[in-house]
Each structure stands twice: as structure tokens, then as C-alpha cells.
């Protein structure tokens, strides 16, 4: 009898973990005639935006009692992995917030529905054509633009004043010269170093992404007009050489990623920093002065030596999944999120969302003098171009570029060797597909 009991207990201990996984299937219908949509996003996982997302969802549910939204927050860094794994496992969400430079990976995986067949042409005409074009792959529109975010140059007005600089830079050379002057201020009252310019140098795709404007400024690019890898050009080498000088002279702090640079800027220890419109509320949240820091924040377009060089922009999009059983309802929700009604709620709770639709431009938020800085973002969209993100290997290429920045900035390697290595490595990556 004792032996039998021991065997049964052993069996129970062994078998429980096997069934601990559950069935992984979420109910998609919450009641008769009611549809539940699974909405994956990182906005609900971030302190600065979660209130806005909750408010938008609540409003939609109130106006659409036949649809319930199952909000699934995930940190930004995990979103793409989880989407790809869920899709491979046959359980994708219905709608997801997507970052622009993931689009090639998700479209290549066949995850997204054809928005051109789900959204009427008249509604599509309300979106900025350049944004629709960037989300169109082989003639198919795979997502709806939600909130483009032009990369702009933030500057600390107080540091510029102390360095004797009257106006923000308009050319890259001015930017580097002014950064040097700010760096010469030395340290603040707490002995923390003051840096002139932030350049990301941790090996993350983001670092490569934000370095492209420097390469563009000197006439280089990741790919040429035929889509061939062309990063091993003189523009890249020049940009890396300049970056090396900035790191060597401690004008730029080494080994940091964007959240570290945002922190430095918010603490008042960084003169110039490139970021999207979403950086602004983050600075105010991180600064010891809180919203009082707004008086010290200046915003201008990315400086360029040549007017032919355009400004890059990032974008947040909304994708409806091909595996969703409720594509029509999911499309209604996605259209609502990008509508003036939802954007009004978004801006009221978080602010600083650049419009992606003509109808959103007319919101009172944008004509309010207190939000005058938004005009910089809107004007910048007029001269902005997307990143060259249509290859499924774009992210991997940006990681290689980030490593190139580390090699010249931290390891002090020869920029010409690093440039030719980048060409070889990225060519090999692009050839793998």
C-alpha cells in the first residue's frame, strides 16, 4: 500500500509540469454577438503612454458595444519576437502596434492582412501618401500609418546659452563645432560630465538607425537606387571618421543606448540629442524639474550640409493580422485608433503625436500656442523620408552598423577598414535571403 502511494505521488509530481502550459487558446467571443479583439502593443506597457491607451480603448468599447478589446501590453524590445513566435504557433493577435522598421520582417513572414481590401479607398485617401507608400510591399498595403515620428534635433537651450551659442545649428559641421563648445563646459555642479552630442554606440539596431542621417549627410546610404548594398562608400567612412573624433575627444559619451542618452539629456548633461517626437514627454518625465524642463528644450530639424539630404522618420503603425478571425472588426478598431477622435485622446494624455492623416491636422491641439513645438514635427514630415527598411535583413544590417560605430568609437579602429568590413558583412546578410 505504501509503495502504491509513493508511486502515485511520484507520478503526480512528474506529470503536473507537462500540463502546466495550458492550451494557449484565448476565447475570442465574449458573449452572444460580441467579438473580442486581441490588441498587442507596447504603449500600454510604458508609463508615459499607458493612460492614453487605456482611455482610447475605453472610448472605443463605449462606442462599439459589440466589440471588446483584450489589451496585451508588452515591452517594445519583446514585441517583434513575440509577434513572430505567435504567428509561427498559429495564434497571432488581431491587431498590433508595429514599428516601421519591423515591417519587412513581418510582411516576409506573411503575418499581415491586405489593408487595401479592408479599408475603403476614400478613407485611405485621408492618410499621407508617403506613409502609405512606405507600408506598401509589392503593391499590397500591409498596415495603416498611425503616428509618424520624424527624427529631430533636441537641444538644451541653457547649455547653448552658457557656451555662447545663439541659434541651433543648421549644418552638420555647425552641429559638431557647437557640440565641441558645449563639451568644453566640462562638468556640472555635481561633477557630472557635460557632453556635446549623443551618438548611440550599444550594439542594438537603434544605434545603426540613428546613425544613418550622418551617412546621408555625406552622400552615402545603406543601399543604392537599385537596392544593392552600398554602405561601403565614402559617405559612411567620413561619418565614422567624424564619430571617432567625437568619441576620442569625449564630446560624445561612449557605450550608451538611446534610453541612457535620453536620461543624460533630461539631467541637463547633454547639449544635442536626436530623437523622435516621443522623446519629448520622456525628457519631461525623467527630468528632476519635471514639466519645468520644457523651457530648456529646443527642437529643430536635423542639420544638413546639403538641402538635398532629407530627414528620416520613424513610424508606428497598426497591423491587422491575416490569421485573425475578425478582420473587419479589427480594421474598425485600427481605423479608430488613427482617427482624430482617438488622436485627441492620445494627445490629451501624452501629447506630441505627429499626425499621419490630414483630418488629424485640424485638431485644436496642433493650433494651441502651448504646443507650438508640434509645428516643427509637422514641417519636418514635409521633408522626411523613411529608412531603407524594405529588406527583411534591414534590422540585422543596422546591428552591423551599430557594431561599426563601436569599433571606431570604443575600439579606435581605422574607419576605412570598418567601412569595407561593413560592406562585406551586410552584403553577405542581404544575400542570405
Amino acid at each position: 500500500m505504501k509503495k502504491l502511494v509513493v508511486i502515485m505521488v511520484s507520478f503526480l509530481f512528474a506529470i503536473v509540469p507537462v500540463f502546466a502550459g495550458g492550451n494557449g487558446e484565448a476565447a475570442n467571443d465574449s458573449g452572444e454577438g460580441t467579438v473580442t479583439l486581441r490588441f498587442m502593443n507596447w504603449g500600454s506597457a510604458e508609463e508615459s503612454t499607458k493612460a492614453a491607451f487605456s482611455a482610447m480603448i475605453a472610448k472605443f468599447e463605449a462606442d462599439n458595444p459589440d466589440i471588446k478589446i483584450e489589451n496585451i501590453p508588452l515591452p517594445f524590445n519583446q514585441m517583434l519576437d513575440q509577434l513572430l513566435i505567435l504567428n509561427a504557433g498559429g495564434t497571432p493577435p488581431d491587431v498590433a502596434q508595429l514599428s516601421g522598421y519591423w515591417m519587412s520582417a513581418v510582411t516576409n513572414a506573411g503575418m499581415l492582412a491586405d489593408m487595401g481590401s479592408l479599408v475603403p479607398a476614400e478613407t485611405l485617401s485621408d492618410f499621407y501618401p508617403t506613409l502609405l507608400e512606405s507600408l506598401t510591399y509589392d503593391g499590397t498595403l500591409y498596415a495603416l500609418p498611425w503616428s509618424p515620428s520624424p527624427v529631430v534635433l533636441y537641444y538644451n537651450k541653457e547649455l547653448l546659452r552658457r557656451a555662447g551659442i545663439e541659434n541651433p545649428p543648421t549644418t552638420m559641421q555647425e552641429l559638431f563645432d557647437y557640440a565641441e563648445r558645449i563639451s568644453a563646459l566640462g562638468s556640472d555642479g555635481d561633477n557630472n560630465t557635460i557632453y556635446g552630442l549623443g551618438i548611440q554606440s550599444k550594439k542594438l539596431g537603434n544605434a545603426g538607425l540613428y546613425f544613418l542621417p550622418y551617412i546621408w549627410n555625406y552622400g552615402g546610404d545603406l543601399v543604392d537606387e537599385n537596392g544593392n548594398v552600398s554602405i561601403g562608400n565614402a559617405g559612411t567612412q567620413r561619418a565614422l571618421t567624424v564619430a571617432q573624433k567625437l568619441f576620442d575627444n569625449n564630446i560624445t559619451p561612449a557605450g550608451l543606448e538611446i534610453k541612457d542618452l535620453r536620461n543624460l539629456f533630461a539631467q541637463g548633461n547633454l547639449g544635442f540629442h536626436f530623437d523622435g517626437d516621443f522623446g519629448y514627454p520622456v525628457f519631461l518625465g525623467l527630468s528632476p524639474e519635471g514639466t519645468g524642463f520644457a523651457k530648456d528644450i529646443g527642437i529643430t530639424q536635423v542639420p544638413r550640409d546639403s538641402l538635398s539630404m532629407t530627414n528620416p522618420y520613424l513610424e508606428h503603425n497598426l497591423g491587422v493580422f491575416a490569421g485573425s478571425a475578425h478582420q473587419e472588426a479589427a480594421t474598425r478598431f485600427a481605423l479608430y485608433l488613427s482617427s482624430p477622435e482617438a488622436m485627441a485622446i492620445y494627445n490629451a494624455n501624452n501629447g506630441n503625436k505627429t499626425p499621419g492623416r490630414y483630418s488629424v491636422e485640424s485638431l485644436p491641439f496642433y493650433s494651441n500656442p502651448e504646443n507650438a513645438h508640434m509645428q516643427i514635427f509637422i514641417d519636418t514630415m514635409g521633408v522626411a523620408k523613411p529608412f531603407p527598411q524594405k529588406s527583411p535583413n534591414f534590422l540585422a544590417a543596422m546591428e552591423e552598423l551599430a557594431e561599426g560605430i563601436q569599433r571606431v568609437g570604443i575600439n579606435n579602429e581605422d574607419p576605412s577598414i570598418v567601412t569595407s568590413d561593413l560592406q562585406a558583412r551586410i552584403e553577405r546578410i542581404y544575400a542570405e535571403n
Binding site: 509503495k3 509530481f13 512528474a14 520582417a105 550608451l256 569599433r407 570604443i410
Partner: protein
């Protein structure tokens, strides 16, 4: 249920098998089956960003790993990391265990204190040390600079190619030493006092007693602790990924980090699995030969 015609020994054997069987079945589902699946996938072109189904590609994933030469970088980093962490851990854990094996005041309190790092989750440990080593705001930089131990205030640690491996080794040793310490302490407490007394009577000093009595006595525990440490550190992912993500410039990319990056950054499950399989073979072979060597040494002492 138990055939009374079987001998007692046979009955006990059958009972033992029945006890182990449920656990074995569970392990089959959650350990062996995924390993078999990974071996199978390692021979496929399997990218989850590719709408085409996975296709058999023989040894292509393996060939590509060796062609780029990156595999040797990953292997070198992994071996360096394991050797550094395990060897430092053994020395520190043994030293603390020897101290706690004496009749010092507050022994129980110190034992509890030394166990604290082990109770902190790895990801929290990684974040904690990342902040301690942060170039602009880290406490350690401020401390070393104030004490005159370094000339620059904003020294890079996890971002520096030379110091990044040092940073993760220190963090791993800090977290894992308590576990080894407890195992060695248990071993030390089982060393025969008569043997030690006999050696001292024969004129052996403390060093000779330690070398010829204590070490051989705790040899089985020491070997087990080292093997466990090697296996644990060969799988180490959390601390390395959260502190350096394998950087800068692949200086801390071990095989486990590389496998993750291939699978979840490049979304190439085939190559990620191939890395895992290669490491499985290397590790299993190493542990097998180490145990054989160790058993021979133990027999020689006994």
C-alpha cells in the same frame, strides 16, 4: 501488483523503475523531445520571417557557422567565461566554507548573510550590477575615483571591450558562489576528525592536512560542485544578455547568447539550433571525460 514469486531484490528493482518511470516520461516531454527537435531543426533552413515552410539543407547551417569564423569567437568566449567563473568561484567558495567550518562567533548569521546573493533572481542581479557599473551614475566609478583607484570618473565597464568580460565574470561569481559554498561546507563538515588528528599527530602542518586529508575527503563533493558550476555557466544567458547583450563587438557573445541571437534577432532557428547542438556535443563529451578522470583520481585516494 507485486509478484510474490520475485526475489526481494527483483521486487525492489521493479519498484524503483516504477518510481522513476513517471519522472522519466515527464523529462521525455519537456527535455528529451525538445532536444531531438532542435537536432532536427539544425539541419533545416528554418527562418520564421520566411513564409516558405522549413526545408532540409543538410549541414549548411553548420558550414556557415564555421565559414564566417564566428563560431570560434563564441567558443573562445564561452570557455574563457566558464574557466574564469568556475575557478574564481571554487577558490572563494572554499575559503568561505573553511571559515564557516570553524567555531567563529555569529557563524549562523554569516552563513545566512553569504547566501543572500543566491536568493536574488539573475535578472535583478544583472540590472543591479549594470547600475553599479554605469559609466555616468554608477556608484563603483564614483568610489574608485574618490579613492584614487582610477583616474577617470566615467570609466566604461560593460561597454569596454577589455572590461566587459571582467564585468560579467564578477557578477556571475557574486551570484553563484554561495551555492558552491554551501555544498563545500557540507562536504567539510563530513571530513573525519580522527583523520585530521592522526595527521597532526604525525607532524603534518595545516597546509599538509588541507592538501592530503581535507581535499581528498571532500573530493566527491568538490567534483560535483565543479561539474554543476560548469554546466550552469555553460548555459548562462540572463546575466550576460541583460548586462552586455553579447557586446561590445561580440566580446561577451558566448554560444548561448549567439544561439539566442541567431534564433530571435535574425529569426534563423536553423542556425540557432545548430549552435545548440554543437555545444551539447562539446559539453557532454567534456563532462563525460572529466567524470572518468575524477573517478580514477578518487579510486587512487581510496
Amino acid at each position: 501488483m507485486f509478484n510474490k514469486q520475485l526475489t526481494k531484490s527483483q521486487q525492489d528493482t521493479r519498484f524503483a523503475i516504477l518510481c522513476i518511470l513517471p519522472v522519466f516520461l515527464g523529462l521525455t516531454f519537456v527535455v528529451f523531445a525538445p532536444i531531438m527537435r532542435a537536432i532536427f531543426v539544425s539541419f533545416q533552413k528554418y527562418k520564421i520571417t520566411d513564409v516558405n515552410p522549413p526545408a532540409w539543407n543538410n549541414f549548411e547551417n553548420y558550414r556557415r557557422l564555421f565559414d564566417t569564423g564566428l563560431f570560434w569567437t563564441y567558443l573562445g568566449n564561452t570557455l574563457l567565461y566558464i574557466v574564469a567563473v568556475v575557478s574564481i568561484q571554487v577558490v572563494i567558495a572554499l575559503a568561505i566554507a573553511l571559515l564557516l567550518n570553524t567555531n567563529i562567533k555569529g557563524r549562523k548569521f554569516f552563513r545566512g548573510l553569504f547566501m543572500i546573493p543566491w536568493t536574488i533572481p539573475s535578472v535583478v542581479t544583472a540590472l543591479l550590477w549594470s547600475w553599479l557599473l554605469q559609466p555616468q551614475y554608477g556608484v563603483l566609478n564614483y568610489l574608485f575615483y574618490t579613492l584614487g583607484l582610477q583616474s577617470e570618473l566615467n570609466r566604461l565597464w560593460v561597454q569596454d571591450p577589455q572590461l566587459s568580460m571582467v564585468s560579467i565574470v564578477i557578477t556571475s561569481v557574486w551570484r553563484q558562489t554561495p551555492y558552491m559554498m554551501i555544498m563545500l561546507l557540507a562536504g567539510l563538515q563530513s571530513v573525519s576528525k580522527e583523520l585530521i588528528e592522526a595527521a597532526e599527530i604525525d607532524g603534518a602542518g595545516k597546509v599538509k592536512v588541507f592538501q592530503h586529508v581535507v581535499i581528498p575527503s571532500i573530493r566527491p563533493v568538490l567534483d560535483t560542485a565543479i561539474v554543476v558550476a560548469i554546466v550552469n555557466n555553460s548555459q548562462m544567458f540572463t546575466i550576460i544578455y541583460n548586462m552586455t547583450a553579447g557586446g561590445p563587438m561580440n566580446r561577451t557573445t558566448t554560444i548561448s547568447i549567439a544561439a539566442y541571437k541567431h534564433a530571435f534577432i535574425s529569426f534563423d532557428f536553423g542556425t540557432g539550433s545548430a549552435l545548440g547542438v554543437i555545444w551539447l556535443v562539446i559539453l557532454s563529451t567534456s563532462v563525460y571525460f572529466y567524470r572518468r578522470y575524477s573517478d580514477k583520481k578518487l579510486s587512487a585516494y581510496l
